[in-house]
Every structure is written in structure tokens, then in C-alpha cells.
């Protein structure tokens, strides 16, 4: 089997997940021994209409972007959603809490009706096409991405981590953020990031989405132990786990 031909694309996002690929530094050269990058607009002027693996960053917010994503899906054997915006919709779904024309007015004022400023509620890729692999996180873990690429090059499907961030804080011996009187989402959030935020002095805000079956009882126990409420936890979840765009209660 030849090296899989890999193409990287992006939609509404900050391109920070692609930057994590660049941040692999010398390891990129190792990865190039097992894959053949045929298109990566951010880093290369090479172009190809054919590829085996499409790696796609960003959320879908416009009809023309849906069409472009469907065309990418049609050409690719495997489609990888790169990062929170692609995998879950991520932070972009904060927009879904508002009415679409109102957000246009908020940002563009009197010019809001100009047709090129049209937008629709943000969608994760899986809400438009079939996704084969999700690389979670905002940003992704570059180590996890390298693992995913090596799996795909071997023809195996990578396993998505499915344990809470708390596991990784324990492994790193990071002091629990609840001890600092903060509400942390690590109890219910999918790990695999190696918990850099609590170690860096910040509660987990849930950028990797929920674990498949969050242990709600354990989360409730932690909240009770530290005298915090479910409402506080839910408020924290709005940033990255605002799945279906609940209307904003504070407006």
C-alpha cells in the first residue's frame, strides 16, 4: 500500500489546530515518511483534486461552505474533523444562542443586510456529512494528531479517548481547581489533552466535549463537597458545550 494522500482544509475557525501540526516541529518530517501531503493551503501552494484522507478544521456557517464540505467528503475515503469547531461546533455555537440577523446587526451595524455577510447557525461537520474520526480540543493535542495520522497510515482506526480530564490531573498530580474555589468541568469532559489548563492555573472549560457517558453522580458529589451548584457547572458549559444553541438567558 502506498502512502495515503492527505489534504487539509478549513472553514470557520482560527486555524490554531493547523498551527498545532506545524508545532510538531521536526516530527513533521517523520510523519512525511508515512503520508503524502497533497494540499495544505495554509502551509503550501501545492494543490490536488484527489486525496485519500481529508483533514478538516472549522465549523460550517454558510450554505456555500456546506456544498464545499460535501465535495470534500465525496473525494475522501476518510474524513477527519480537526478540533472543537469541526468536531462539536465548539465556541462557534455561542452564536446560535442569538437570532442570526441580530448578530449581523451587532457586528456590522447598518451594513448588516449586505448579502456577503449572511450566516446561519454554526454546525459541526457531522451535522452536514459523515465524519470518520474526531480529533477533539481547542486547540487539538498535537501528540494525539500525530497518533491519529500514524493509525490512518497503518490502515487502522484511531481510538478516541473516552475518560474524564480528572484522570489526567491525577496522573500529573495537579491540585484540583475546586480547591481554589473554582468550578471546573474536568469531571465530565473528555480527556486526552493531558489536562494542560488546570496545570496552567485555569479550570477546564470543556473544549473536548463531554465523555460519552459522563458520571453525573460523581460530578454532583464533587459540587456538593465544595458547596457549588449544578447551575454554576451548566453556566461554564455554555462556552464549548452549547450544543443546540439554547437562547441566552442573560439577554
Amino acid at each position: 500500500m502506498g502512502k495515503p494522500r492527505v489534504a487539509i482544509f478549513d472553514f470557520a475557525c482560527c486555524e490554531g489546530c493547523q498551527l498545532q501540526i506545524v508545532n510538531l516541529e521536526e516530527e513533521i518530517l517523520d510523519l512525511l515518511t508515512v503520508i503524502d501531503p497533497v494540499e495544505w493551503r495554509e502551509a503550501s501552494s501545492d494543490h490536488s483534486d484527489t486525496y485519500d484522507v481529508a483533514v478538516v478544521e472549522g465549523s460550517i456557517t454558510r450554505p456555500e461552505d456546506e456544498d464545499r464540505l460535501k465535495e470534500i467528503r465525496r473525494r475522501a475515503k476518510v474524513l477527519v474533523a480537526l478540533g472543537a469547531c469541526a468536531a462539536t461546533g465548539g465556541l462557534n455555537k455561542l452564536k446560535n444562542r442569538f437570532e442570526m440577523y441580530e448578530v449581523r446587526q451587532c457586528v456590522y451595524g447598518l451594513d448588516a443586510s449586505m448579502p456577503h455577510l449572511a450566516t446561519q447557525p454554526a454546525k459541526a461537520l457531522h451535522q452536514v456529512v459523515k465524519v470518520d474520526v474526531n480529533v477533539h480540543g481547542c486547540p487539538i493535542s498535537r501528540e494525539e494528531f500525530a497518533r491519529v495520522v500514524r493509525c490512518l497510515a497503518r490502515g487502522t482506526m484511531p481510538v478516541t479517548p473516552n475518560y474524564p480530564v480528572c484522570v489526567e490531573c491525577k496522573m500529573r498530580e495537579t491540585v484540583c481547581r475546586y480547591e481554589y474555589n473554582e468550578v471546573c468541568l474536568g469531571v465530565i469532559t473528555r480527556g486526552g489533552c493531558n489536562a494542560p489548563c488546570p496545570a496552567g492555573g485555569q479550570w477546564c472549560y470543556g473544549c473536548r466535549g463531554l465523555v460519552d457517558e459522563p458520571n453525573v453522580n460523581a460530578a454532583r458529589d464533587v459540587l456538593t463537597k465544595y458547596g457549588r451548584t449544578v447551575e454554576e457547572l451548566q453556566s461554564r458549559m455554555e462556552l464549548f458545550n452549547n450544543q443546540e444553541g439554547q437562547p441566552c438567558p442573560r439577554q
Binding site: 482560527c14 452564536k95 448578530v103 492555573g201 472549560y205
Partner: protein
Amino acid sequence: MPKTVNINVHHVTRIEGHGNIRVQASDGKVQKVEWQVPEAPRFFEAMLRGRSWQEVQTVVCRICGICSFAHSLASVQATENALGVEVSEQTDRLRILAFGGEQLESHVLHVGYLVTPDLLGVNSVIPLANSHPAVVMAVVRAHRLGNEWMELLGGRRTHPVSFRPGGFGKLPTEGELRDLKGRLEKVVPDLTLIAETVASLADKLPPFERPTEYVALVEPGVYTFYHGMIGSTDTPDRLPIGRFEEVANEYVSPQSTAKWARWHRPSYAVGALARFKLNHANLHPLAAKTARLLGLEPACCNPYTNSLAQVVEAVEVVEAGIEQIDDLLSRGIQNEAPRKVRPKAGTGVGAVEAPRGTLFHKYTYNDHGVCTAANVCIPTNQNHANIQKDFEALLPKVLDRSEAEIRLLLEMLVRAYDPCVSCSTH
């Protein structure tokens, strides 16, 4: 000479985000020349409404993956200004130090990975790993150091977690700072090799001059990235950052989802070249020497030389970083928690020099510290109109060239600004 030029670059490569170039000309006459920005807006200013002051930094650093430290730092400044929080001198110094890491990382990435392939006639940095291994490895080492520098002080290399309104969620140890200093000293030969290589290729930069207005933060005696007033090459007046909206005068162009800006002229430029022009007298010695090596003069109005100014700044932040660490170590790192923040109603502005130019954040909070309005003005917003004006000035001068040559000149011009297009649309 009867000739038709029809250029339609759909998504310029080797830049952050989505930009198109459209040119139509025939018989030596330009019918159309446009820098278009079709990037999907994410509506950050709208999304911020309803967020607590504690969350705003976490949201806004996602505006940009390439300059998330700039957003994070402008954000904590703006929130502190709005809520009346004074930070300690140690916090201030550590933030300035942390920001140097992002300038190094971003500039080395841009010059090494995105611009140099044009100067050597290849499509990406990948073939250069074989043809120019020594300098490519110097680029990789300097880039990694920038990243690890950011990780030490920001807790993570993209979307930092340690910067909070009032101070640091986690402080570096004195040992870690000493180690960083040693590594900054060791990267100097790599930066020298990069500068010498770029200097040897500088004649490949197109000789195109177009005087325009250049804008950057200025602070007496400092080549500043973090504090200062708004300065311009068109006026000796200096404006406080709180008046940035009078500088940017943002407006919507039908060819762009990102807003455009103008001040004294139809367009102005921000970024490394603007900072160099306004602040070159404050460069550290090795950075000033690097500018001379590269032949970069303060009077220069060639947008392509922005990449040279980035090399100068990569050296500057390393020199300034070493000095800052010495200062911090001589005072000793105090184990201080972030200052207590008491939510109150107010409006505040923060401004920093992102790698690509001056970045402004403005927030209004209600009595509960909940954000009710926001305005974020991005460096690339402020450069879009200037790119368009450069296109209009450059194209008639090069219409006799082949279509492929014209296309490359325009693409290189866009790249020279190191545009952060998705950031500018936000």
C-alpha cells in the same frame, strides 16, 4: 501591446485564512483589481454578550490561533481597565516577557515557512528541508523555542490559560526563568544564520515603494509591544489607546467580510515595518545590527520588506527577553495570587502590538461583571485597505509581465503583510 490579463486566485496559499485575488486587464488598462476577503465571520463581538468577565479572555483568544497571546493580553488589559484593576509590576513584566515568545514564534514561522519558499522558487518549506537543511533546522529550533517560551509563561502554546484579569493563574519558577534565559542566549546564532540567509535573498524582494501612513504603539525609550500610545508616521500627535475608534474608522467593504480601516489617508498599515519605522531608535544593539545587515532603513516604504522587519524583531524580543529575565530574577519571583477583582459596571480598552500589528479590544461590563458590548479591532483589518491600495499602485507598473509573474507578485505582496484573515473577520 495587446494583451489580456485575467487572474483569479481563489484562496491565496501560505497565509492564515481565506483571501482571493481578482485581476482583469486588457491592452495595458486595468479593469479590475481586487483583494477580496470571503472568510466566514464568526461574530465574536455578538458572542461575547452575556459572558462573565472571568470567561472573556478564554473566548477571545480563540479569535486567532496564530496570535492568541496577543488577544489574551489585550483582553486582560481591557477587562482590568473596565473593572479598575491594577496589576503588580511583576505581572506586567511577566506578560511582556511572555509576549516576546509569540513574536519570535510567529515571525519565524512567517519568514521561514511562508515567505522563504517564494524567494527560493518552491511551493512550501518541505523541499527546503533537503536543499537548505542547516537554515531550515535553525528555523525549526527558533520556532520551537518561541513555542516553549510561550508554554512556560502562558501554560500552553496556543490559547493560553495562565493569563487572568488581575495576574497569573500559574507563575514560572526562578529556575524555569534561568533555564529560559540560557536557551534564549543559545538561539542567537540560529537567528543570525536566519538573518544572514534572508539578507542573501533580500534582492529577490520586489523593489516596490508606495508611501502610506504607518501606525503602531509608541512608548518613550522602548521598542514596545505591550504598552504605549497610538503613533503614526503622518502626525506627531499621539493618541491614548482609548481613542482607537477615531484611528481605525472601520467600515464595511462589499469585497470583504472583514471590516476595513482608514485614518489620515484612504488606508494605513500596521505590523513589523510600521513598528520599525516608528520605534527603530529603541531597538537593542543586536537587533539594530540585524537591521543594518538586512539593509532595512526607517525611510523604507516597500511593503515586501515587512518580512525583513520581522527578522529584526525576532532578534529584538530575544535580547529584550534576556534583559527582562535578568530584571525579574534580580527582584525574585513573588508567589502572588491574581489581584482580587470586584465586578462593576464600566468600559475598558486594551491594546497590544500583535505580531501583525496593533490590536485593540474594548468591552463594556454591567454591575455583575457581565459583558454587554464588545469591539475588537484586528491588525489585519487595518491592513486590508492598504493591501488593496498597494495592488492598485503595483499592477499598472507590472502589466507587461507574464500572468504568472503578476500573480506571484500579488500573492507575495499579500503574504508580506502576514495577514491573519480569519482573525480579521472574526
